[in-house]
């Protein structure tokens, strides 16, 4: 439906500034636009002089042939230029889209997890950003032409017949003027309306998702009436807004067609009175008549392509919103970070070496809170050095949160976490992370072999024997087996063991003094569980191990169990 969304004016500028290759494209766009403008003027002149030559000059095709050929060539060149323009635009758009995606993805890797849907974000970066093609290929070139063509038309008219130029000059500014006036008048309402469009779609989606529940309670049929009322109300409000909003299009159309009419009448009256006599006079009259509508055409086209470009711009807006988010504390600075960030870096704690031996970990009166939720209860807990501690607290008690906190991904609202008495907040986060091997509940799987996935345990290249050893110890699938990025090809149990192999490899190669395992055997049958725990035994020696699990077999290996 008609786009009622107000477009932030700065967006277009941001898009063109941030995107590499965009400025080159604007240059190409202007060059091709100039060539097209030349074609428009030449075409009008040739058409006018052909008609005048035949009618007023009484000449036949034999005389006019070359001019007719030239006209065909000019018009064909215009078609070719339009095609080249679109191809160039799509090439440029490919680079801009890729640039946006890269920046967004690099930034996303530094933002806290869990605040957005991964599927939704992936879709935004791939399909959403693709919609920018329409903006680059159609809308922008028309904007360029909307500047060049009227200027050229006015210049030609000034030379040929100044009164016509005055008519165009008088009407053309009315268009942006009324556009701004009407835009200002409707802006606040359009914003509210846009919000209600989104709310309406969201409401309908929520109802559809909950339909089985509504039906179970016998409330589904009654909702049809509610949908009718909200949609009808929405239509009435939209229409009252559109009645005003369409006025800017009305001004544009009226200016375009009335100026043609006025030019035709003015020129006609002039001709009747003998002002533009002879073949040259007729040619001039026809030239200004053909050129007059061309002055308004790019503006009208840009309006027509506005809708197609809105989708891509909406996606770009969301990407910019992501880029504006503050990175997680402790995240590595962006490769292109502003120099202004440097003092903050210098103030950061000096790079400490990784923890040397198995530490005692202490949570002192820590309280964790998620936005919009009750904070978890205060917790004090000591994890003894070089022992295996199993957290058996009930679901939702914050076991995963504790593990993530040790890695610096969750910050306690109050209280402190200490490694061997040293507060985590004062330690170098990278060094702490280098000292820990962590198996999360759902290990990540990337597109590649099992071995490649296991190698993600350590930043440097792991040797083949080391990887093979870890895979064997974790009872993970064959290292050569292929895994798709969505985990297709592996069962949940196999995926868990790939994660475990990763943990073992990291423990082996980096000799991490701390192991954190989150529900390591949740998807395993009893036999595999037993075998896996057996393999883990030598790795637990001399390390501080913290496992979150309810399973009896896991609790059996604990030096200590903790519940709260």
């Amino acid at each position: 439906m008609t786009q009622l969304a107000p477009r932030p004016a700065a967006l277009d500028r941001r898009l063109l500034h941030r995107a590499r290759g965009a400025s080159v494209y604007i240059g190409v766009c202007a060059g091709l636009g100039l060539a097209q403008t030349a074609c428009v003027v030449a075409g009008a002149w040739l058409t006018a002089s052909l008609v005048a030559g035949a009618f007023a000059g009484g000449r036949d095709l034999a005389d006019l042939g070359p001019q007719l050929t030239a006209l065909a060539a000019v018009l064909a060149a215009r078609a070719l230029l339009a095609s080249v323009q679109e191809a160039a635009a799509n090439r440029a758009a490919a680079g801009v889209k890729s640039g946006l995606r890269r920046q967004a993805l690099e930034h996303l890797m530094r933002l806290p997890s869990g605040t957005r849907g991964t599927g939704e974000t992936a879709n935004l970066l791939v399909r959403g950003v693709d919609a920018l093609d329409a903006y680059f290929a159609r809308y922008l070139p028309q904007l360029v032409l909307a500047v060049l063509v009227p200027a050229a038309v006015i210049a030609v008219m000034l030379a040929a017949y100044p009164p016509a130029a005055l008519i165009v000059l008088a009407t053309l500014p009315l268009i942006p003027l009324f556009g701004v006036l009407i835009g200002r008048h409707t802006k606040a309402r359009a914003e509210r309306q846009w919000a209600s469009t989104a709310a309406l779609a969201h409401h309908f989606a929520d109802l559809v998702a909950g339909l089985p529940t509504l039906k179970a309670f016998g409330r589904a049929d009654r909702q049809a009436g509610a949908i009718r009322v909200t949609t009808g109300e929405y239509r009435r409000r939209s229409m009252s807004l559109l009645r005003v909003a369409f006025c800017s299009a009305l001004v544009l159309e009226l200016a375009a067609s009335l100026s043609v009419a006025v030019v035709a009448v003015t020129v006609g009256v002039q001709l009747v009175h003998g002002g533009l006599a002879g073949e040259a006079g007729l040619r001039t009259a026809l030239l200004v008549l053909i050129l007059a509508p061309e002055a308004y055409l790019p503006l009208r086209n840009a309006g027509a392509h506005y809708h197609a470009s809105a989708e891509g711009l909406a996606a770009a807006d969301k990407v910019f919103a992501i880029l504006a988010e503050t990175p997680e504390p402790g995240a590595a600075p962006a490769p292109d970070a502003e120099p202004a960030d440097a003092p903050a870096l210098a103030a950061a704690p000096h790079i400490a070496p990784p923890l040397q031996r198995a530490p005692t970990i202490m949570f002192r009166r820590t309280v964790f809170a998620y936005p919009g939720r009750d904070p978890l209860p205060e917790l004090s807990l000591t994890v003894p050095a070089a022992q295996t501690t199993v957290l058996t607290a009930r679901s939702g008690a914050g076991k995963s949160t504790l593990l993530a906190a040790l890695l610096g991904f969750r910050r306690p609202r109050s209280g402190s976490i200490a490694f061997d008495g040293a507060d985590l907040a004062g330690l170098d986060l990278e060094a702490v992370r280098r000292s820990i091997a962590w198996l999360p509940q759902q290990p990540v799987l990337i597109d590649g072999t099992v071995a490649e996935n296991v190698r993600l345990a350590v930043p440097h290249d792991a040797s083949d024997p080391a990887v093979a050893k870890a895979i064997a110890a974790a009872h993970a699938p064959d290292g050569r087996r292929r895994v798709a990025a969505n985990g297709a090809g592996l069962s949940a149990g196999e995926a868990a063991r790939v994660g475990l192999a990763r943990l073992l490899l990291r423990a082996d190669l980096l000799d991490t003094p701390v192991l954190l395992l989150d529900e390591p055997t949740a998807h395993l049958d009893a036999d595999t569980e037993h075998a896996v725990l057996e393999s883990l035994a030598p790795y637990r020696e001399g390390r501080t191990v913290l496992i979150a699990s309810h399973r009896a077999a896991v609790r059996a290996i604990a030096d200590r169990e903790v519940d709260w």
């Binding site: 008609v51 036949d60 890729s98 339909l211 309670f217 159309e253 067609s257 043609v260 679901s395 930043p459």
Partner: protein, 571 residues
């Protein structure tokens, strides 16, 4: 479009007529202007030109005003059509839910359904309407041109046809080509981005985030190259239209100039001949874009049609029995014999040969491994699915009753009960419209949410009403999985149905919480019939008895040879 009845069809028709008239005004403006200028050059008395001058002015105003009217009329009609479509789809979905279509299996499918409904509204505005006015304008232009000079009319007709057909065809080919040529890269990139985001913390902790990022960026580079490689094809549709325009203008002069020289055409009309193609092509050049809107809307329409043509999984009986399964009041006697239930589209039953008798007021656990058809039993008891065998309430087959009547007596608390994006109170009052705040709080207590609710009420200044006004967020995201399940349980208890089916009420709970919740819920259900579906044994005293459910035996067709031999008559 056929589902949009008269008032809307009339408005749409009016919109089309106004749109065509606006385009024709533009054509008329250019043609009359060309005539006016040529005739004026012959310097006749100005009186001869008054008609032309007046019509030029009228046409100049007419085009803008007509277009404005057309926009208002057609948008209003599209909004009305959308309203009607939304309600029609809703009514159909109500009959299909939850067994009929896979919409409720994923959020993506739901989002697509909502977009599809909105997308079909676009079809008229940006697809059909531009096509209608392009055809009207082209037809009038060809007639006008033919009247002036038949040969020029033929050239224009051919050029318009070429542009009207080749332009949209090339444009849609190139967009299909682009989608095909980049599909693999886009799919790969989506998965890589997803993996990076999903595994961000693990990767950052391992120091390998850069590795995963680099792999994703490699795929992105491949996608960029693929896009750049196919860029040339994008402008073909546009170029085809402009080439045809070039042919039309050149052709008009090429036929017109000799005719003027030969005296068969009045020279005054040569300018008209040359300018008519410009106006005639304006709407035709917009057709590639219109065709793409139509194609997108068609895809949406097809998907909606799939849904609206899906047969109801369990049509209500034409003359339903009066629902009075227990004339004395209270829960009915339930008798299930050789019950077999098959989901629509499945080739084998999810539940087969199941027997169970439940006395009024009894609490029964149905326990079985996953895949044994526990949730299917629940859906059948709710009247969501057709069945074979016998399922009687108070001696009458469930199939004889109207589904809504059944659901006034049987309630279901399913694993995937939806929590709406509104307040806690409104979510609960779905079950009972007039429930007081005290009743809501009591239901929350039954579901083991006392402490949780006290926390909410405390956060809003110790007021119960404030706590009930807490918003639960989209899909209940503001609360944890366990809390969401218990809110759904509270809602079911509040509904106070005579028979309540609880599908895995302990799913997201640890053992201790689960036991507490089951006990309070059981106490609240005193005197009602309860069927508790579970995959692990329930604590003592929660239910009166437990029945086991085994996965259905495979049908003979799929069964291994050995089991076929077992079925063969012996001796």
């Amino acid at each position: 479009m056929t589902t949009w009845r008269n008032p809307i069809a009339l408005r749409l028709g009016l919109g089309a007529v106004l749109g065509a008239l606006a385009q024709l005004s533009a054509l008329g403006l250019l043609a009359v202007s060309a005539y006016l200028v040529s005739r004026a050059w012959e310097q006749p008395p100005i009186l001869y030109l008054m008609v032309a001058i007046t019509s030029v002015r009228a046409l100049g105003i007419g085009r803008g005003v007509l277009r404005y009217a057309e926009r208002l009329v057609s948008h209003d009609a599209a909004f009305r059509g959308l309203e009607r479509l939304r309600i029609a789809v809703w009514r159909k979905l109500v009959r299909l839910a939850p067994a009929g279509v896979p919409v409720w299996r994923s959020g993506d499918l739901q989002a697509r359904l909502v977009d599809d409904v909105d997308g079909t509204g676009d079809r008229w505005l940006r697809g059909t309407l531009p096509l209608a006015s392009a055809i009207a304008t082209a037809a009038v232009a060809v007639v006008l041109q033919t009247a002036i000079l038949p040969a020029a009319g033929a050239v224009l007709a051919a050029a318009l046809a070429a542009a009207g057909l080749a332009g949209p065809a090339l444009a849609s080919w190139s967009s299909r080509y682009a989608v095909r040529a980049t599909a693999a890269e886009r799919g790969d990139l989506t998965e890589h981005v997803r993996a990076c985001l999903h595994g961000r913390e693990e990767l950052v902790a391992a120091g390998t985030d850069a590795v995963a990022l680099a792999r994703a960026l490699d795929v992105d580079e491949r996608l960029r190259r693929a896009h750049a490689r196919i860029a040339w094809s994008a402008g073909l549709g546009q170029a085809a239209g402009l080439l045809a325009l070039a042919a039309a203008v050149t052709g008009a002069l090429w036929t017109g100039i000799p005719a003027v020289a030969a005296g068969t055409l009045d020279g005054v009309l040569l300018a008209v001949l040359a300018l008519v193609p410009l106006a005639a092509f304006e709407p035709v050049l917009a057709l590639p874009a219109a065709a793409q809107h139509t194609a997108a809307a068609k895809t949406s329409g097809r998907r909606l049609l799939e849904i609206t043509q899906t047969p109801d999984p369990r049509p209500d009986p034409v003359e339903p029995m009066e629902f009075e399964p227990n004339p004395l009041g209270g829960p009915p006697y339930i008798e299930i014999k050789r019950l077999s239930v098959t989901w629509p589209g499945a080739d084998r039953p999810a539940l087969s040969g199941f027997d169970l008798k439940i006395q009024p007021g009894e609490r029964v656990a149905v326990m079985g491994p996953s895949g044994s058809g526990k949730s299917t039993l629940a859906a059948a008891l709710m009247g969501f699915l057709p069945y074979e065998g016998s399922l009687r309430f108070g001696g009458v087959e469930l199939a004889e009753y109207d589904g809504d009547d059944v659901r006034r007596t049987v309630g279901l608390c399913s694993q995937d009960a939806h929590v709406f994006d509104t307040t806690l109170a409104e979510n609960l009052r779905l079950a009972r419209t007039g429930a007081t705040d005290d009743e809501l709080v009591r239901a929350l207590r039954w579901a083991g949410l006392r402490d949780w609710f006290d926390g909410l009420a405390g956060a809003s200044g110790g007021s119960v009403a404030g706590g009930l006004r807490t918003r639960l967020g989209e899909h209940g995201r503001a609360v944890s999985g366990g809390e969401r399940g218990r809110i759904a349980l509270a809602r079911c208890l509040l509904a106070d149905r005579e028979v309540l089916v609880l599908d895995e009420p302990d799913a997201h709970l640890d053992a201790a919480t689960a036991e507490r919740v089951l006990r309070t819920a059981a106490a609240a259900l005193e005197g009602k019939t309860a069927i508790i579906i579970t995959h692990r044994p329930l604590p003592d005293g929660v239910v009166d008895r437990t029945v086991r459910l085994e996965p259905p035996v495979p049908t003979p067709r799929d069964a291994p040879l050995s089991s076929l031999l077992d079925l063969a008559p012996r001796g």
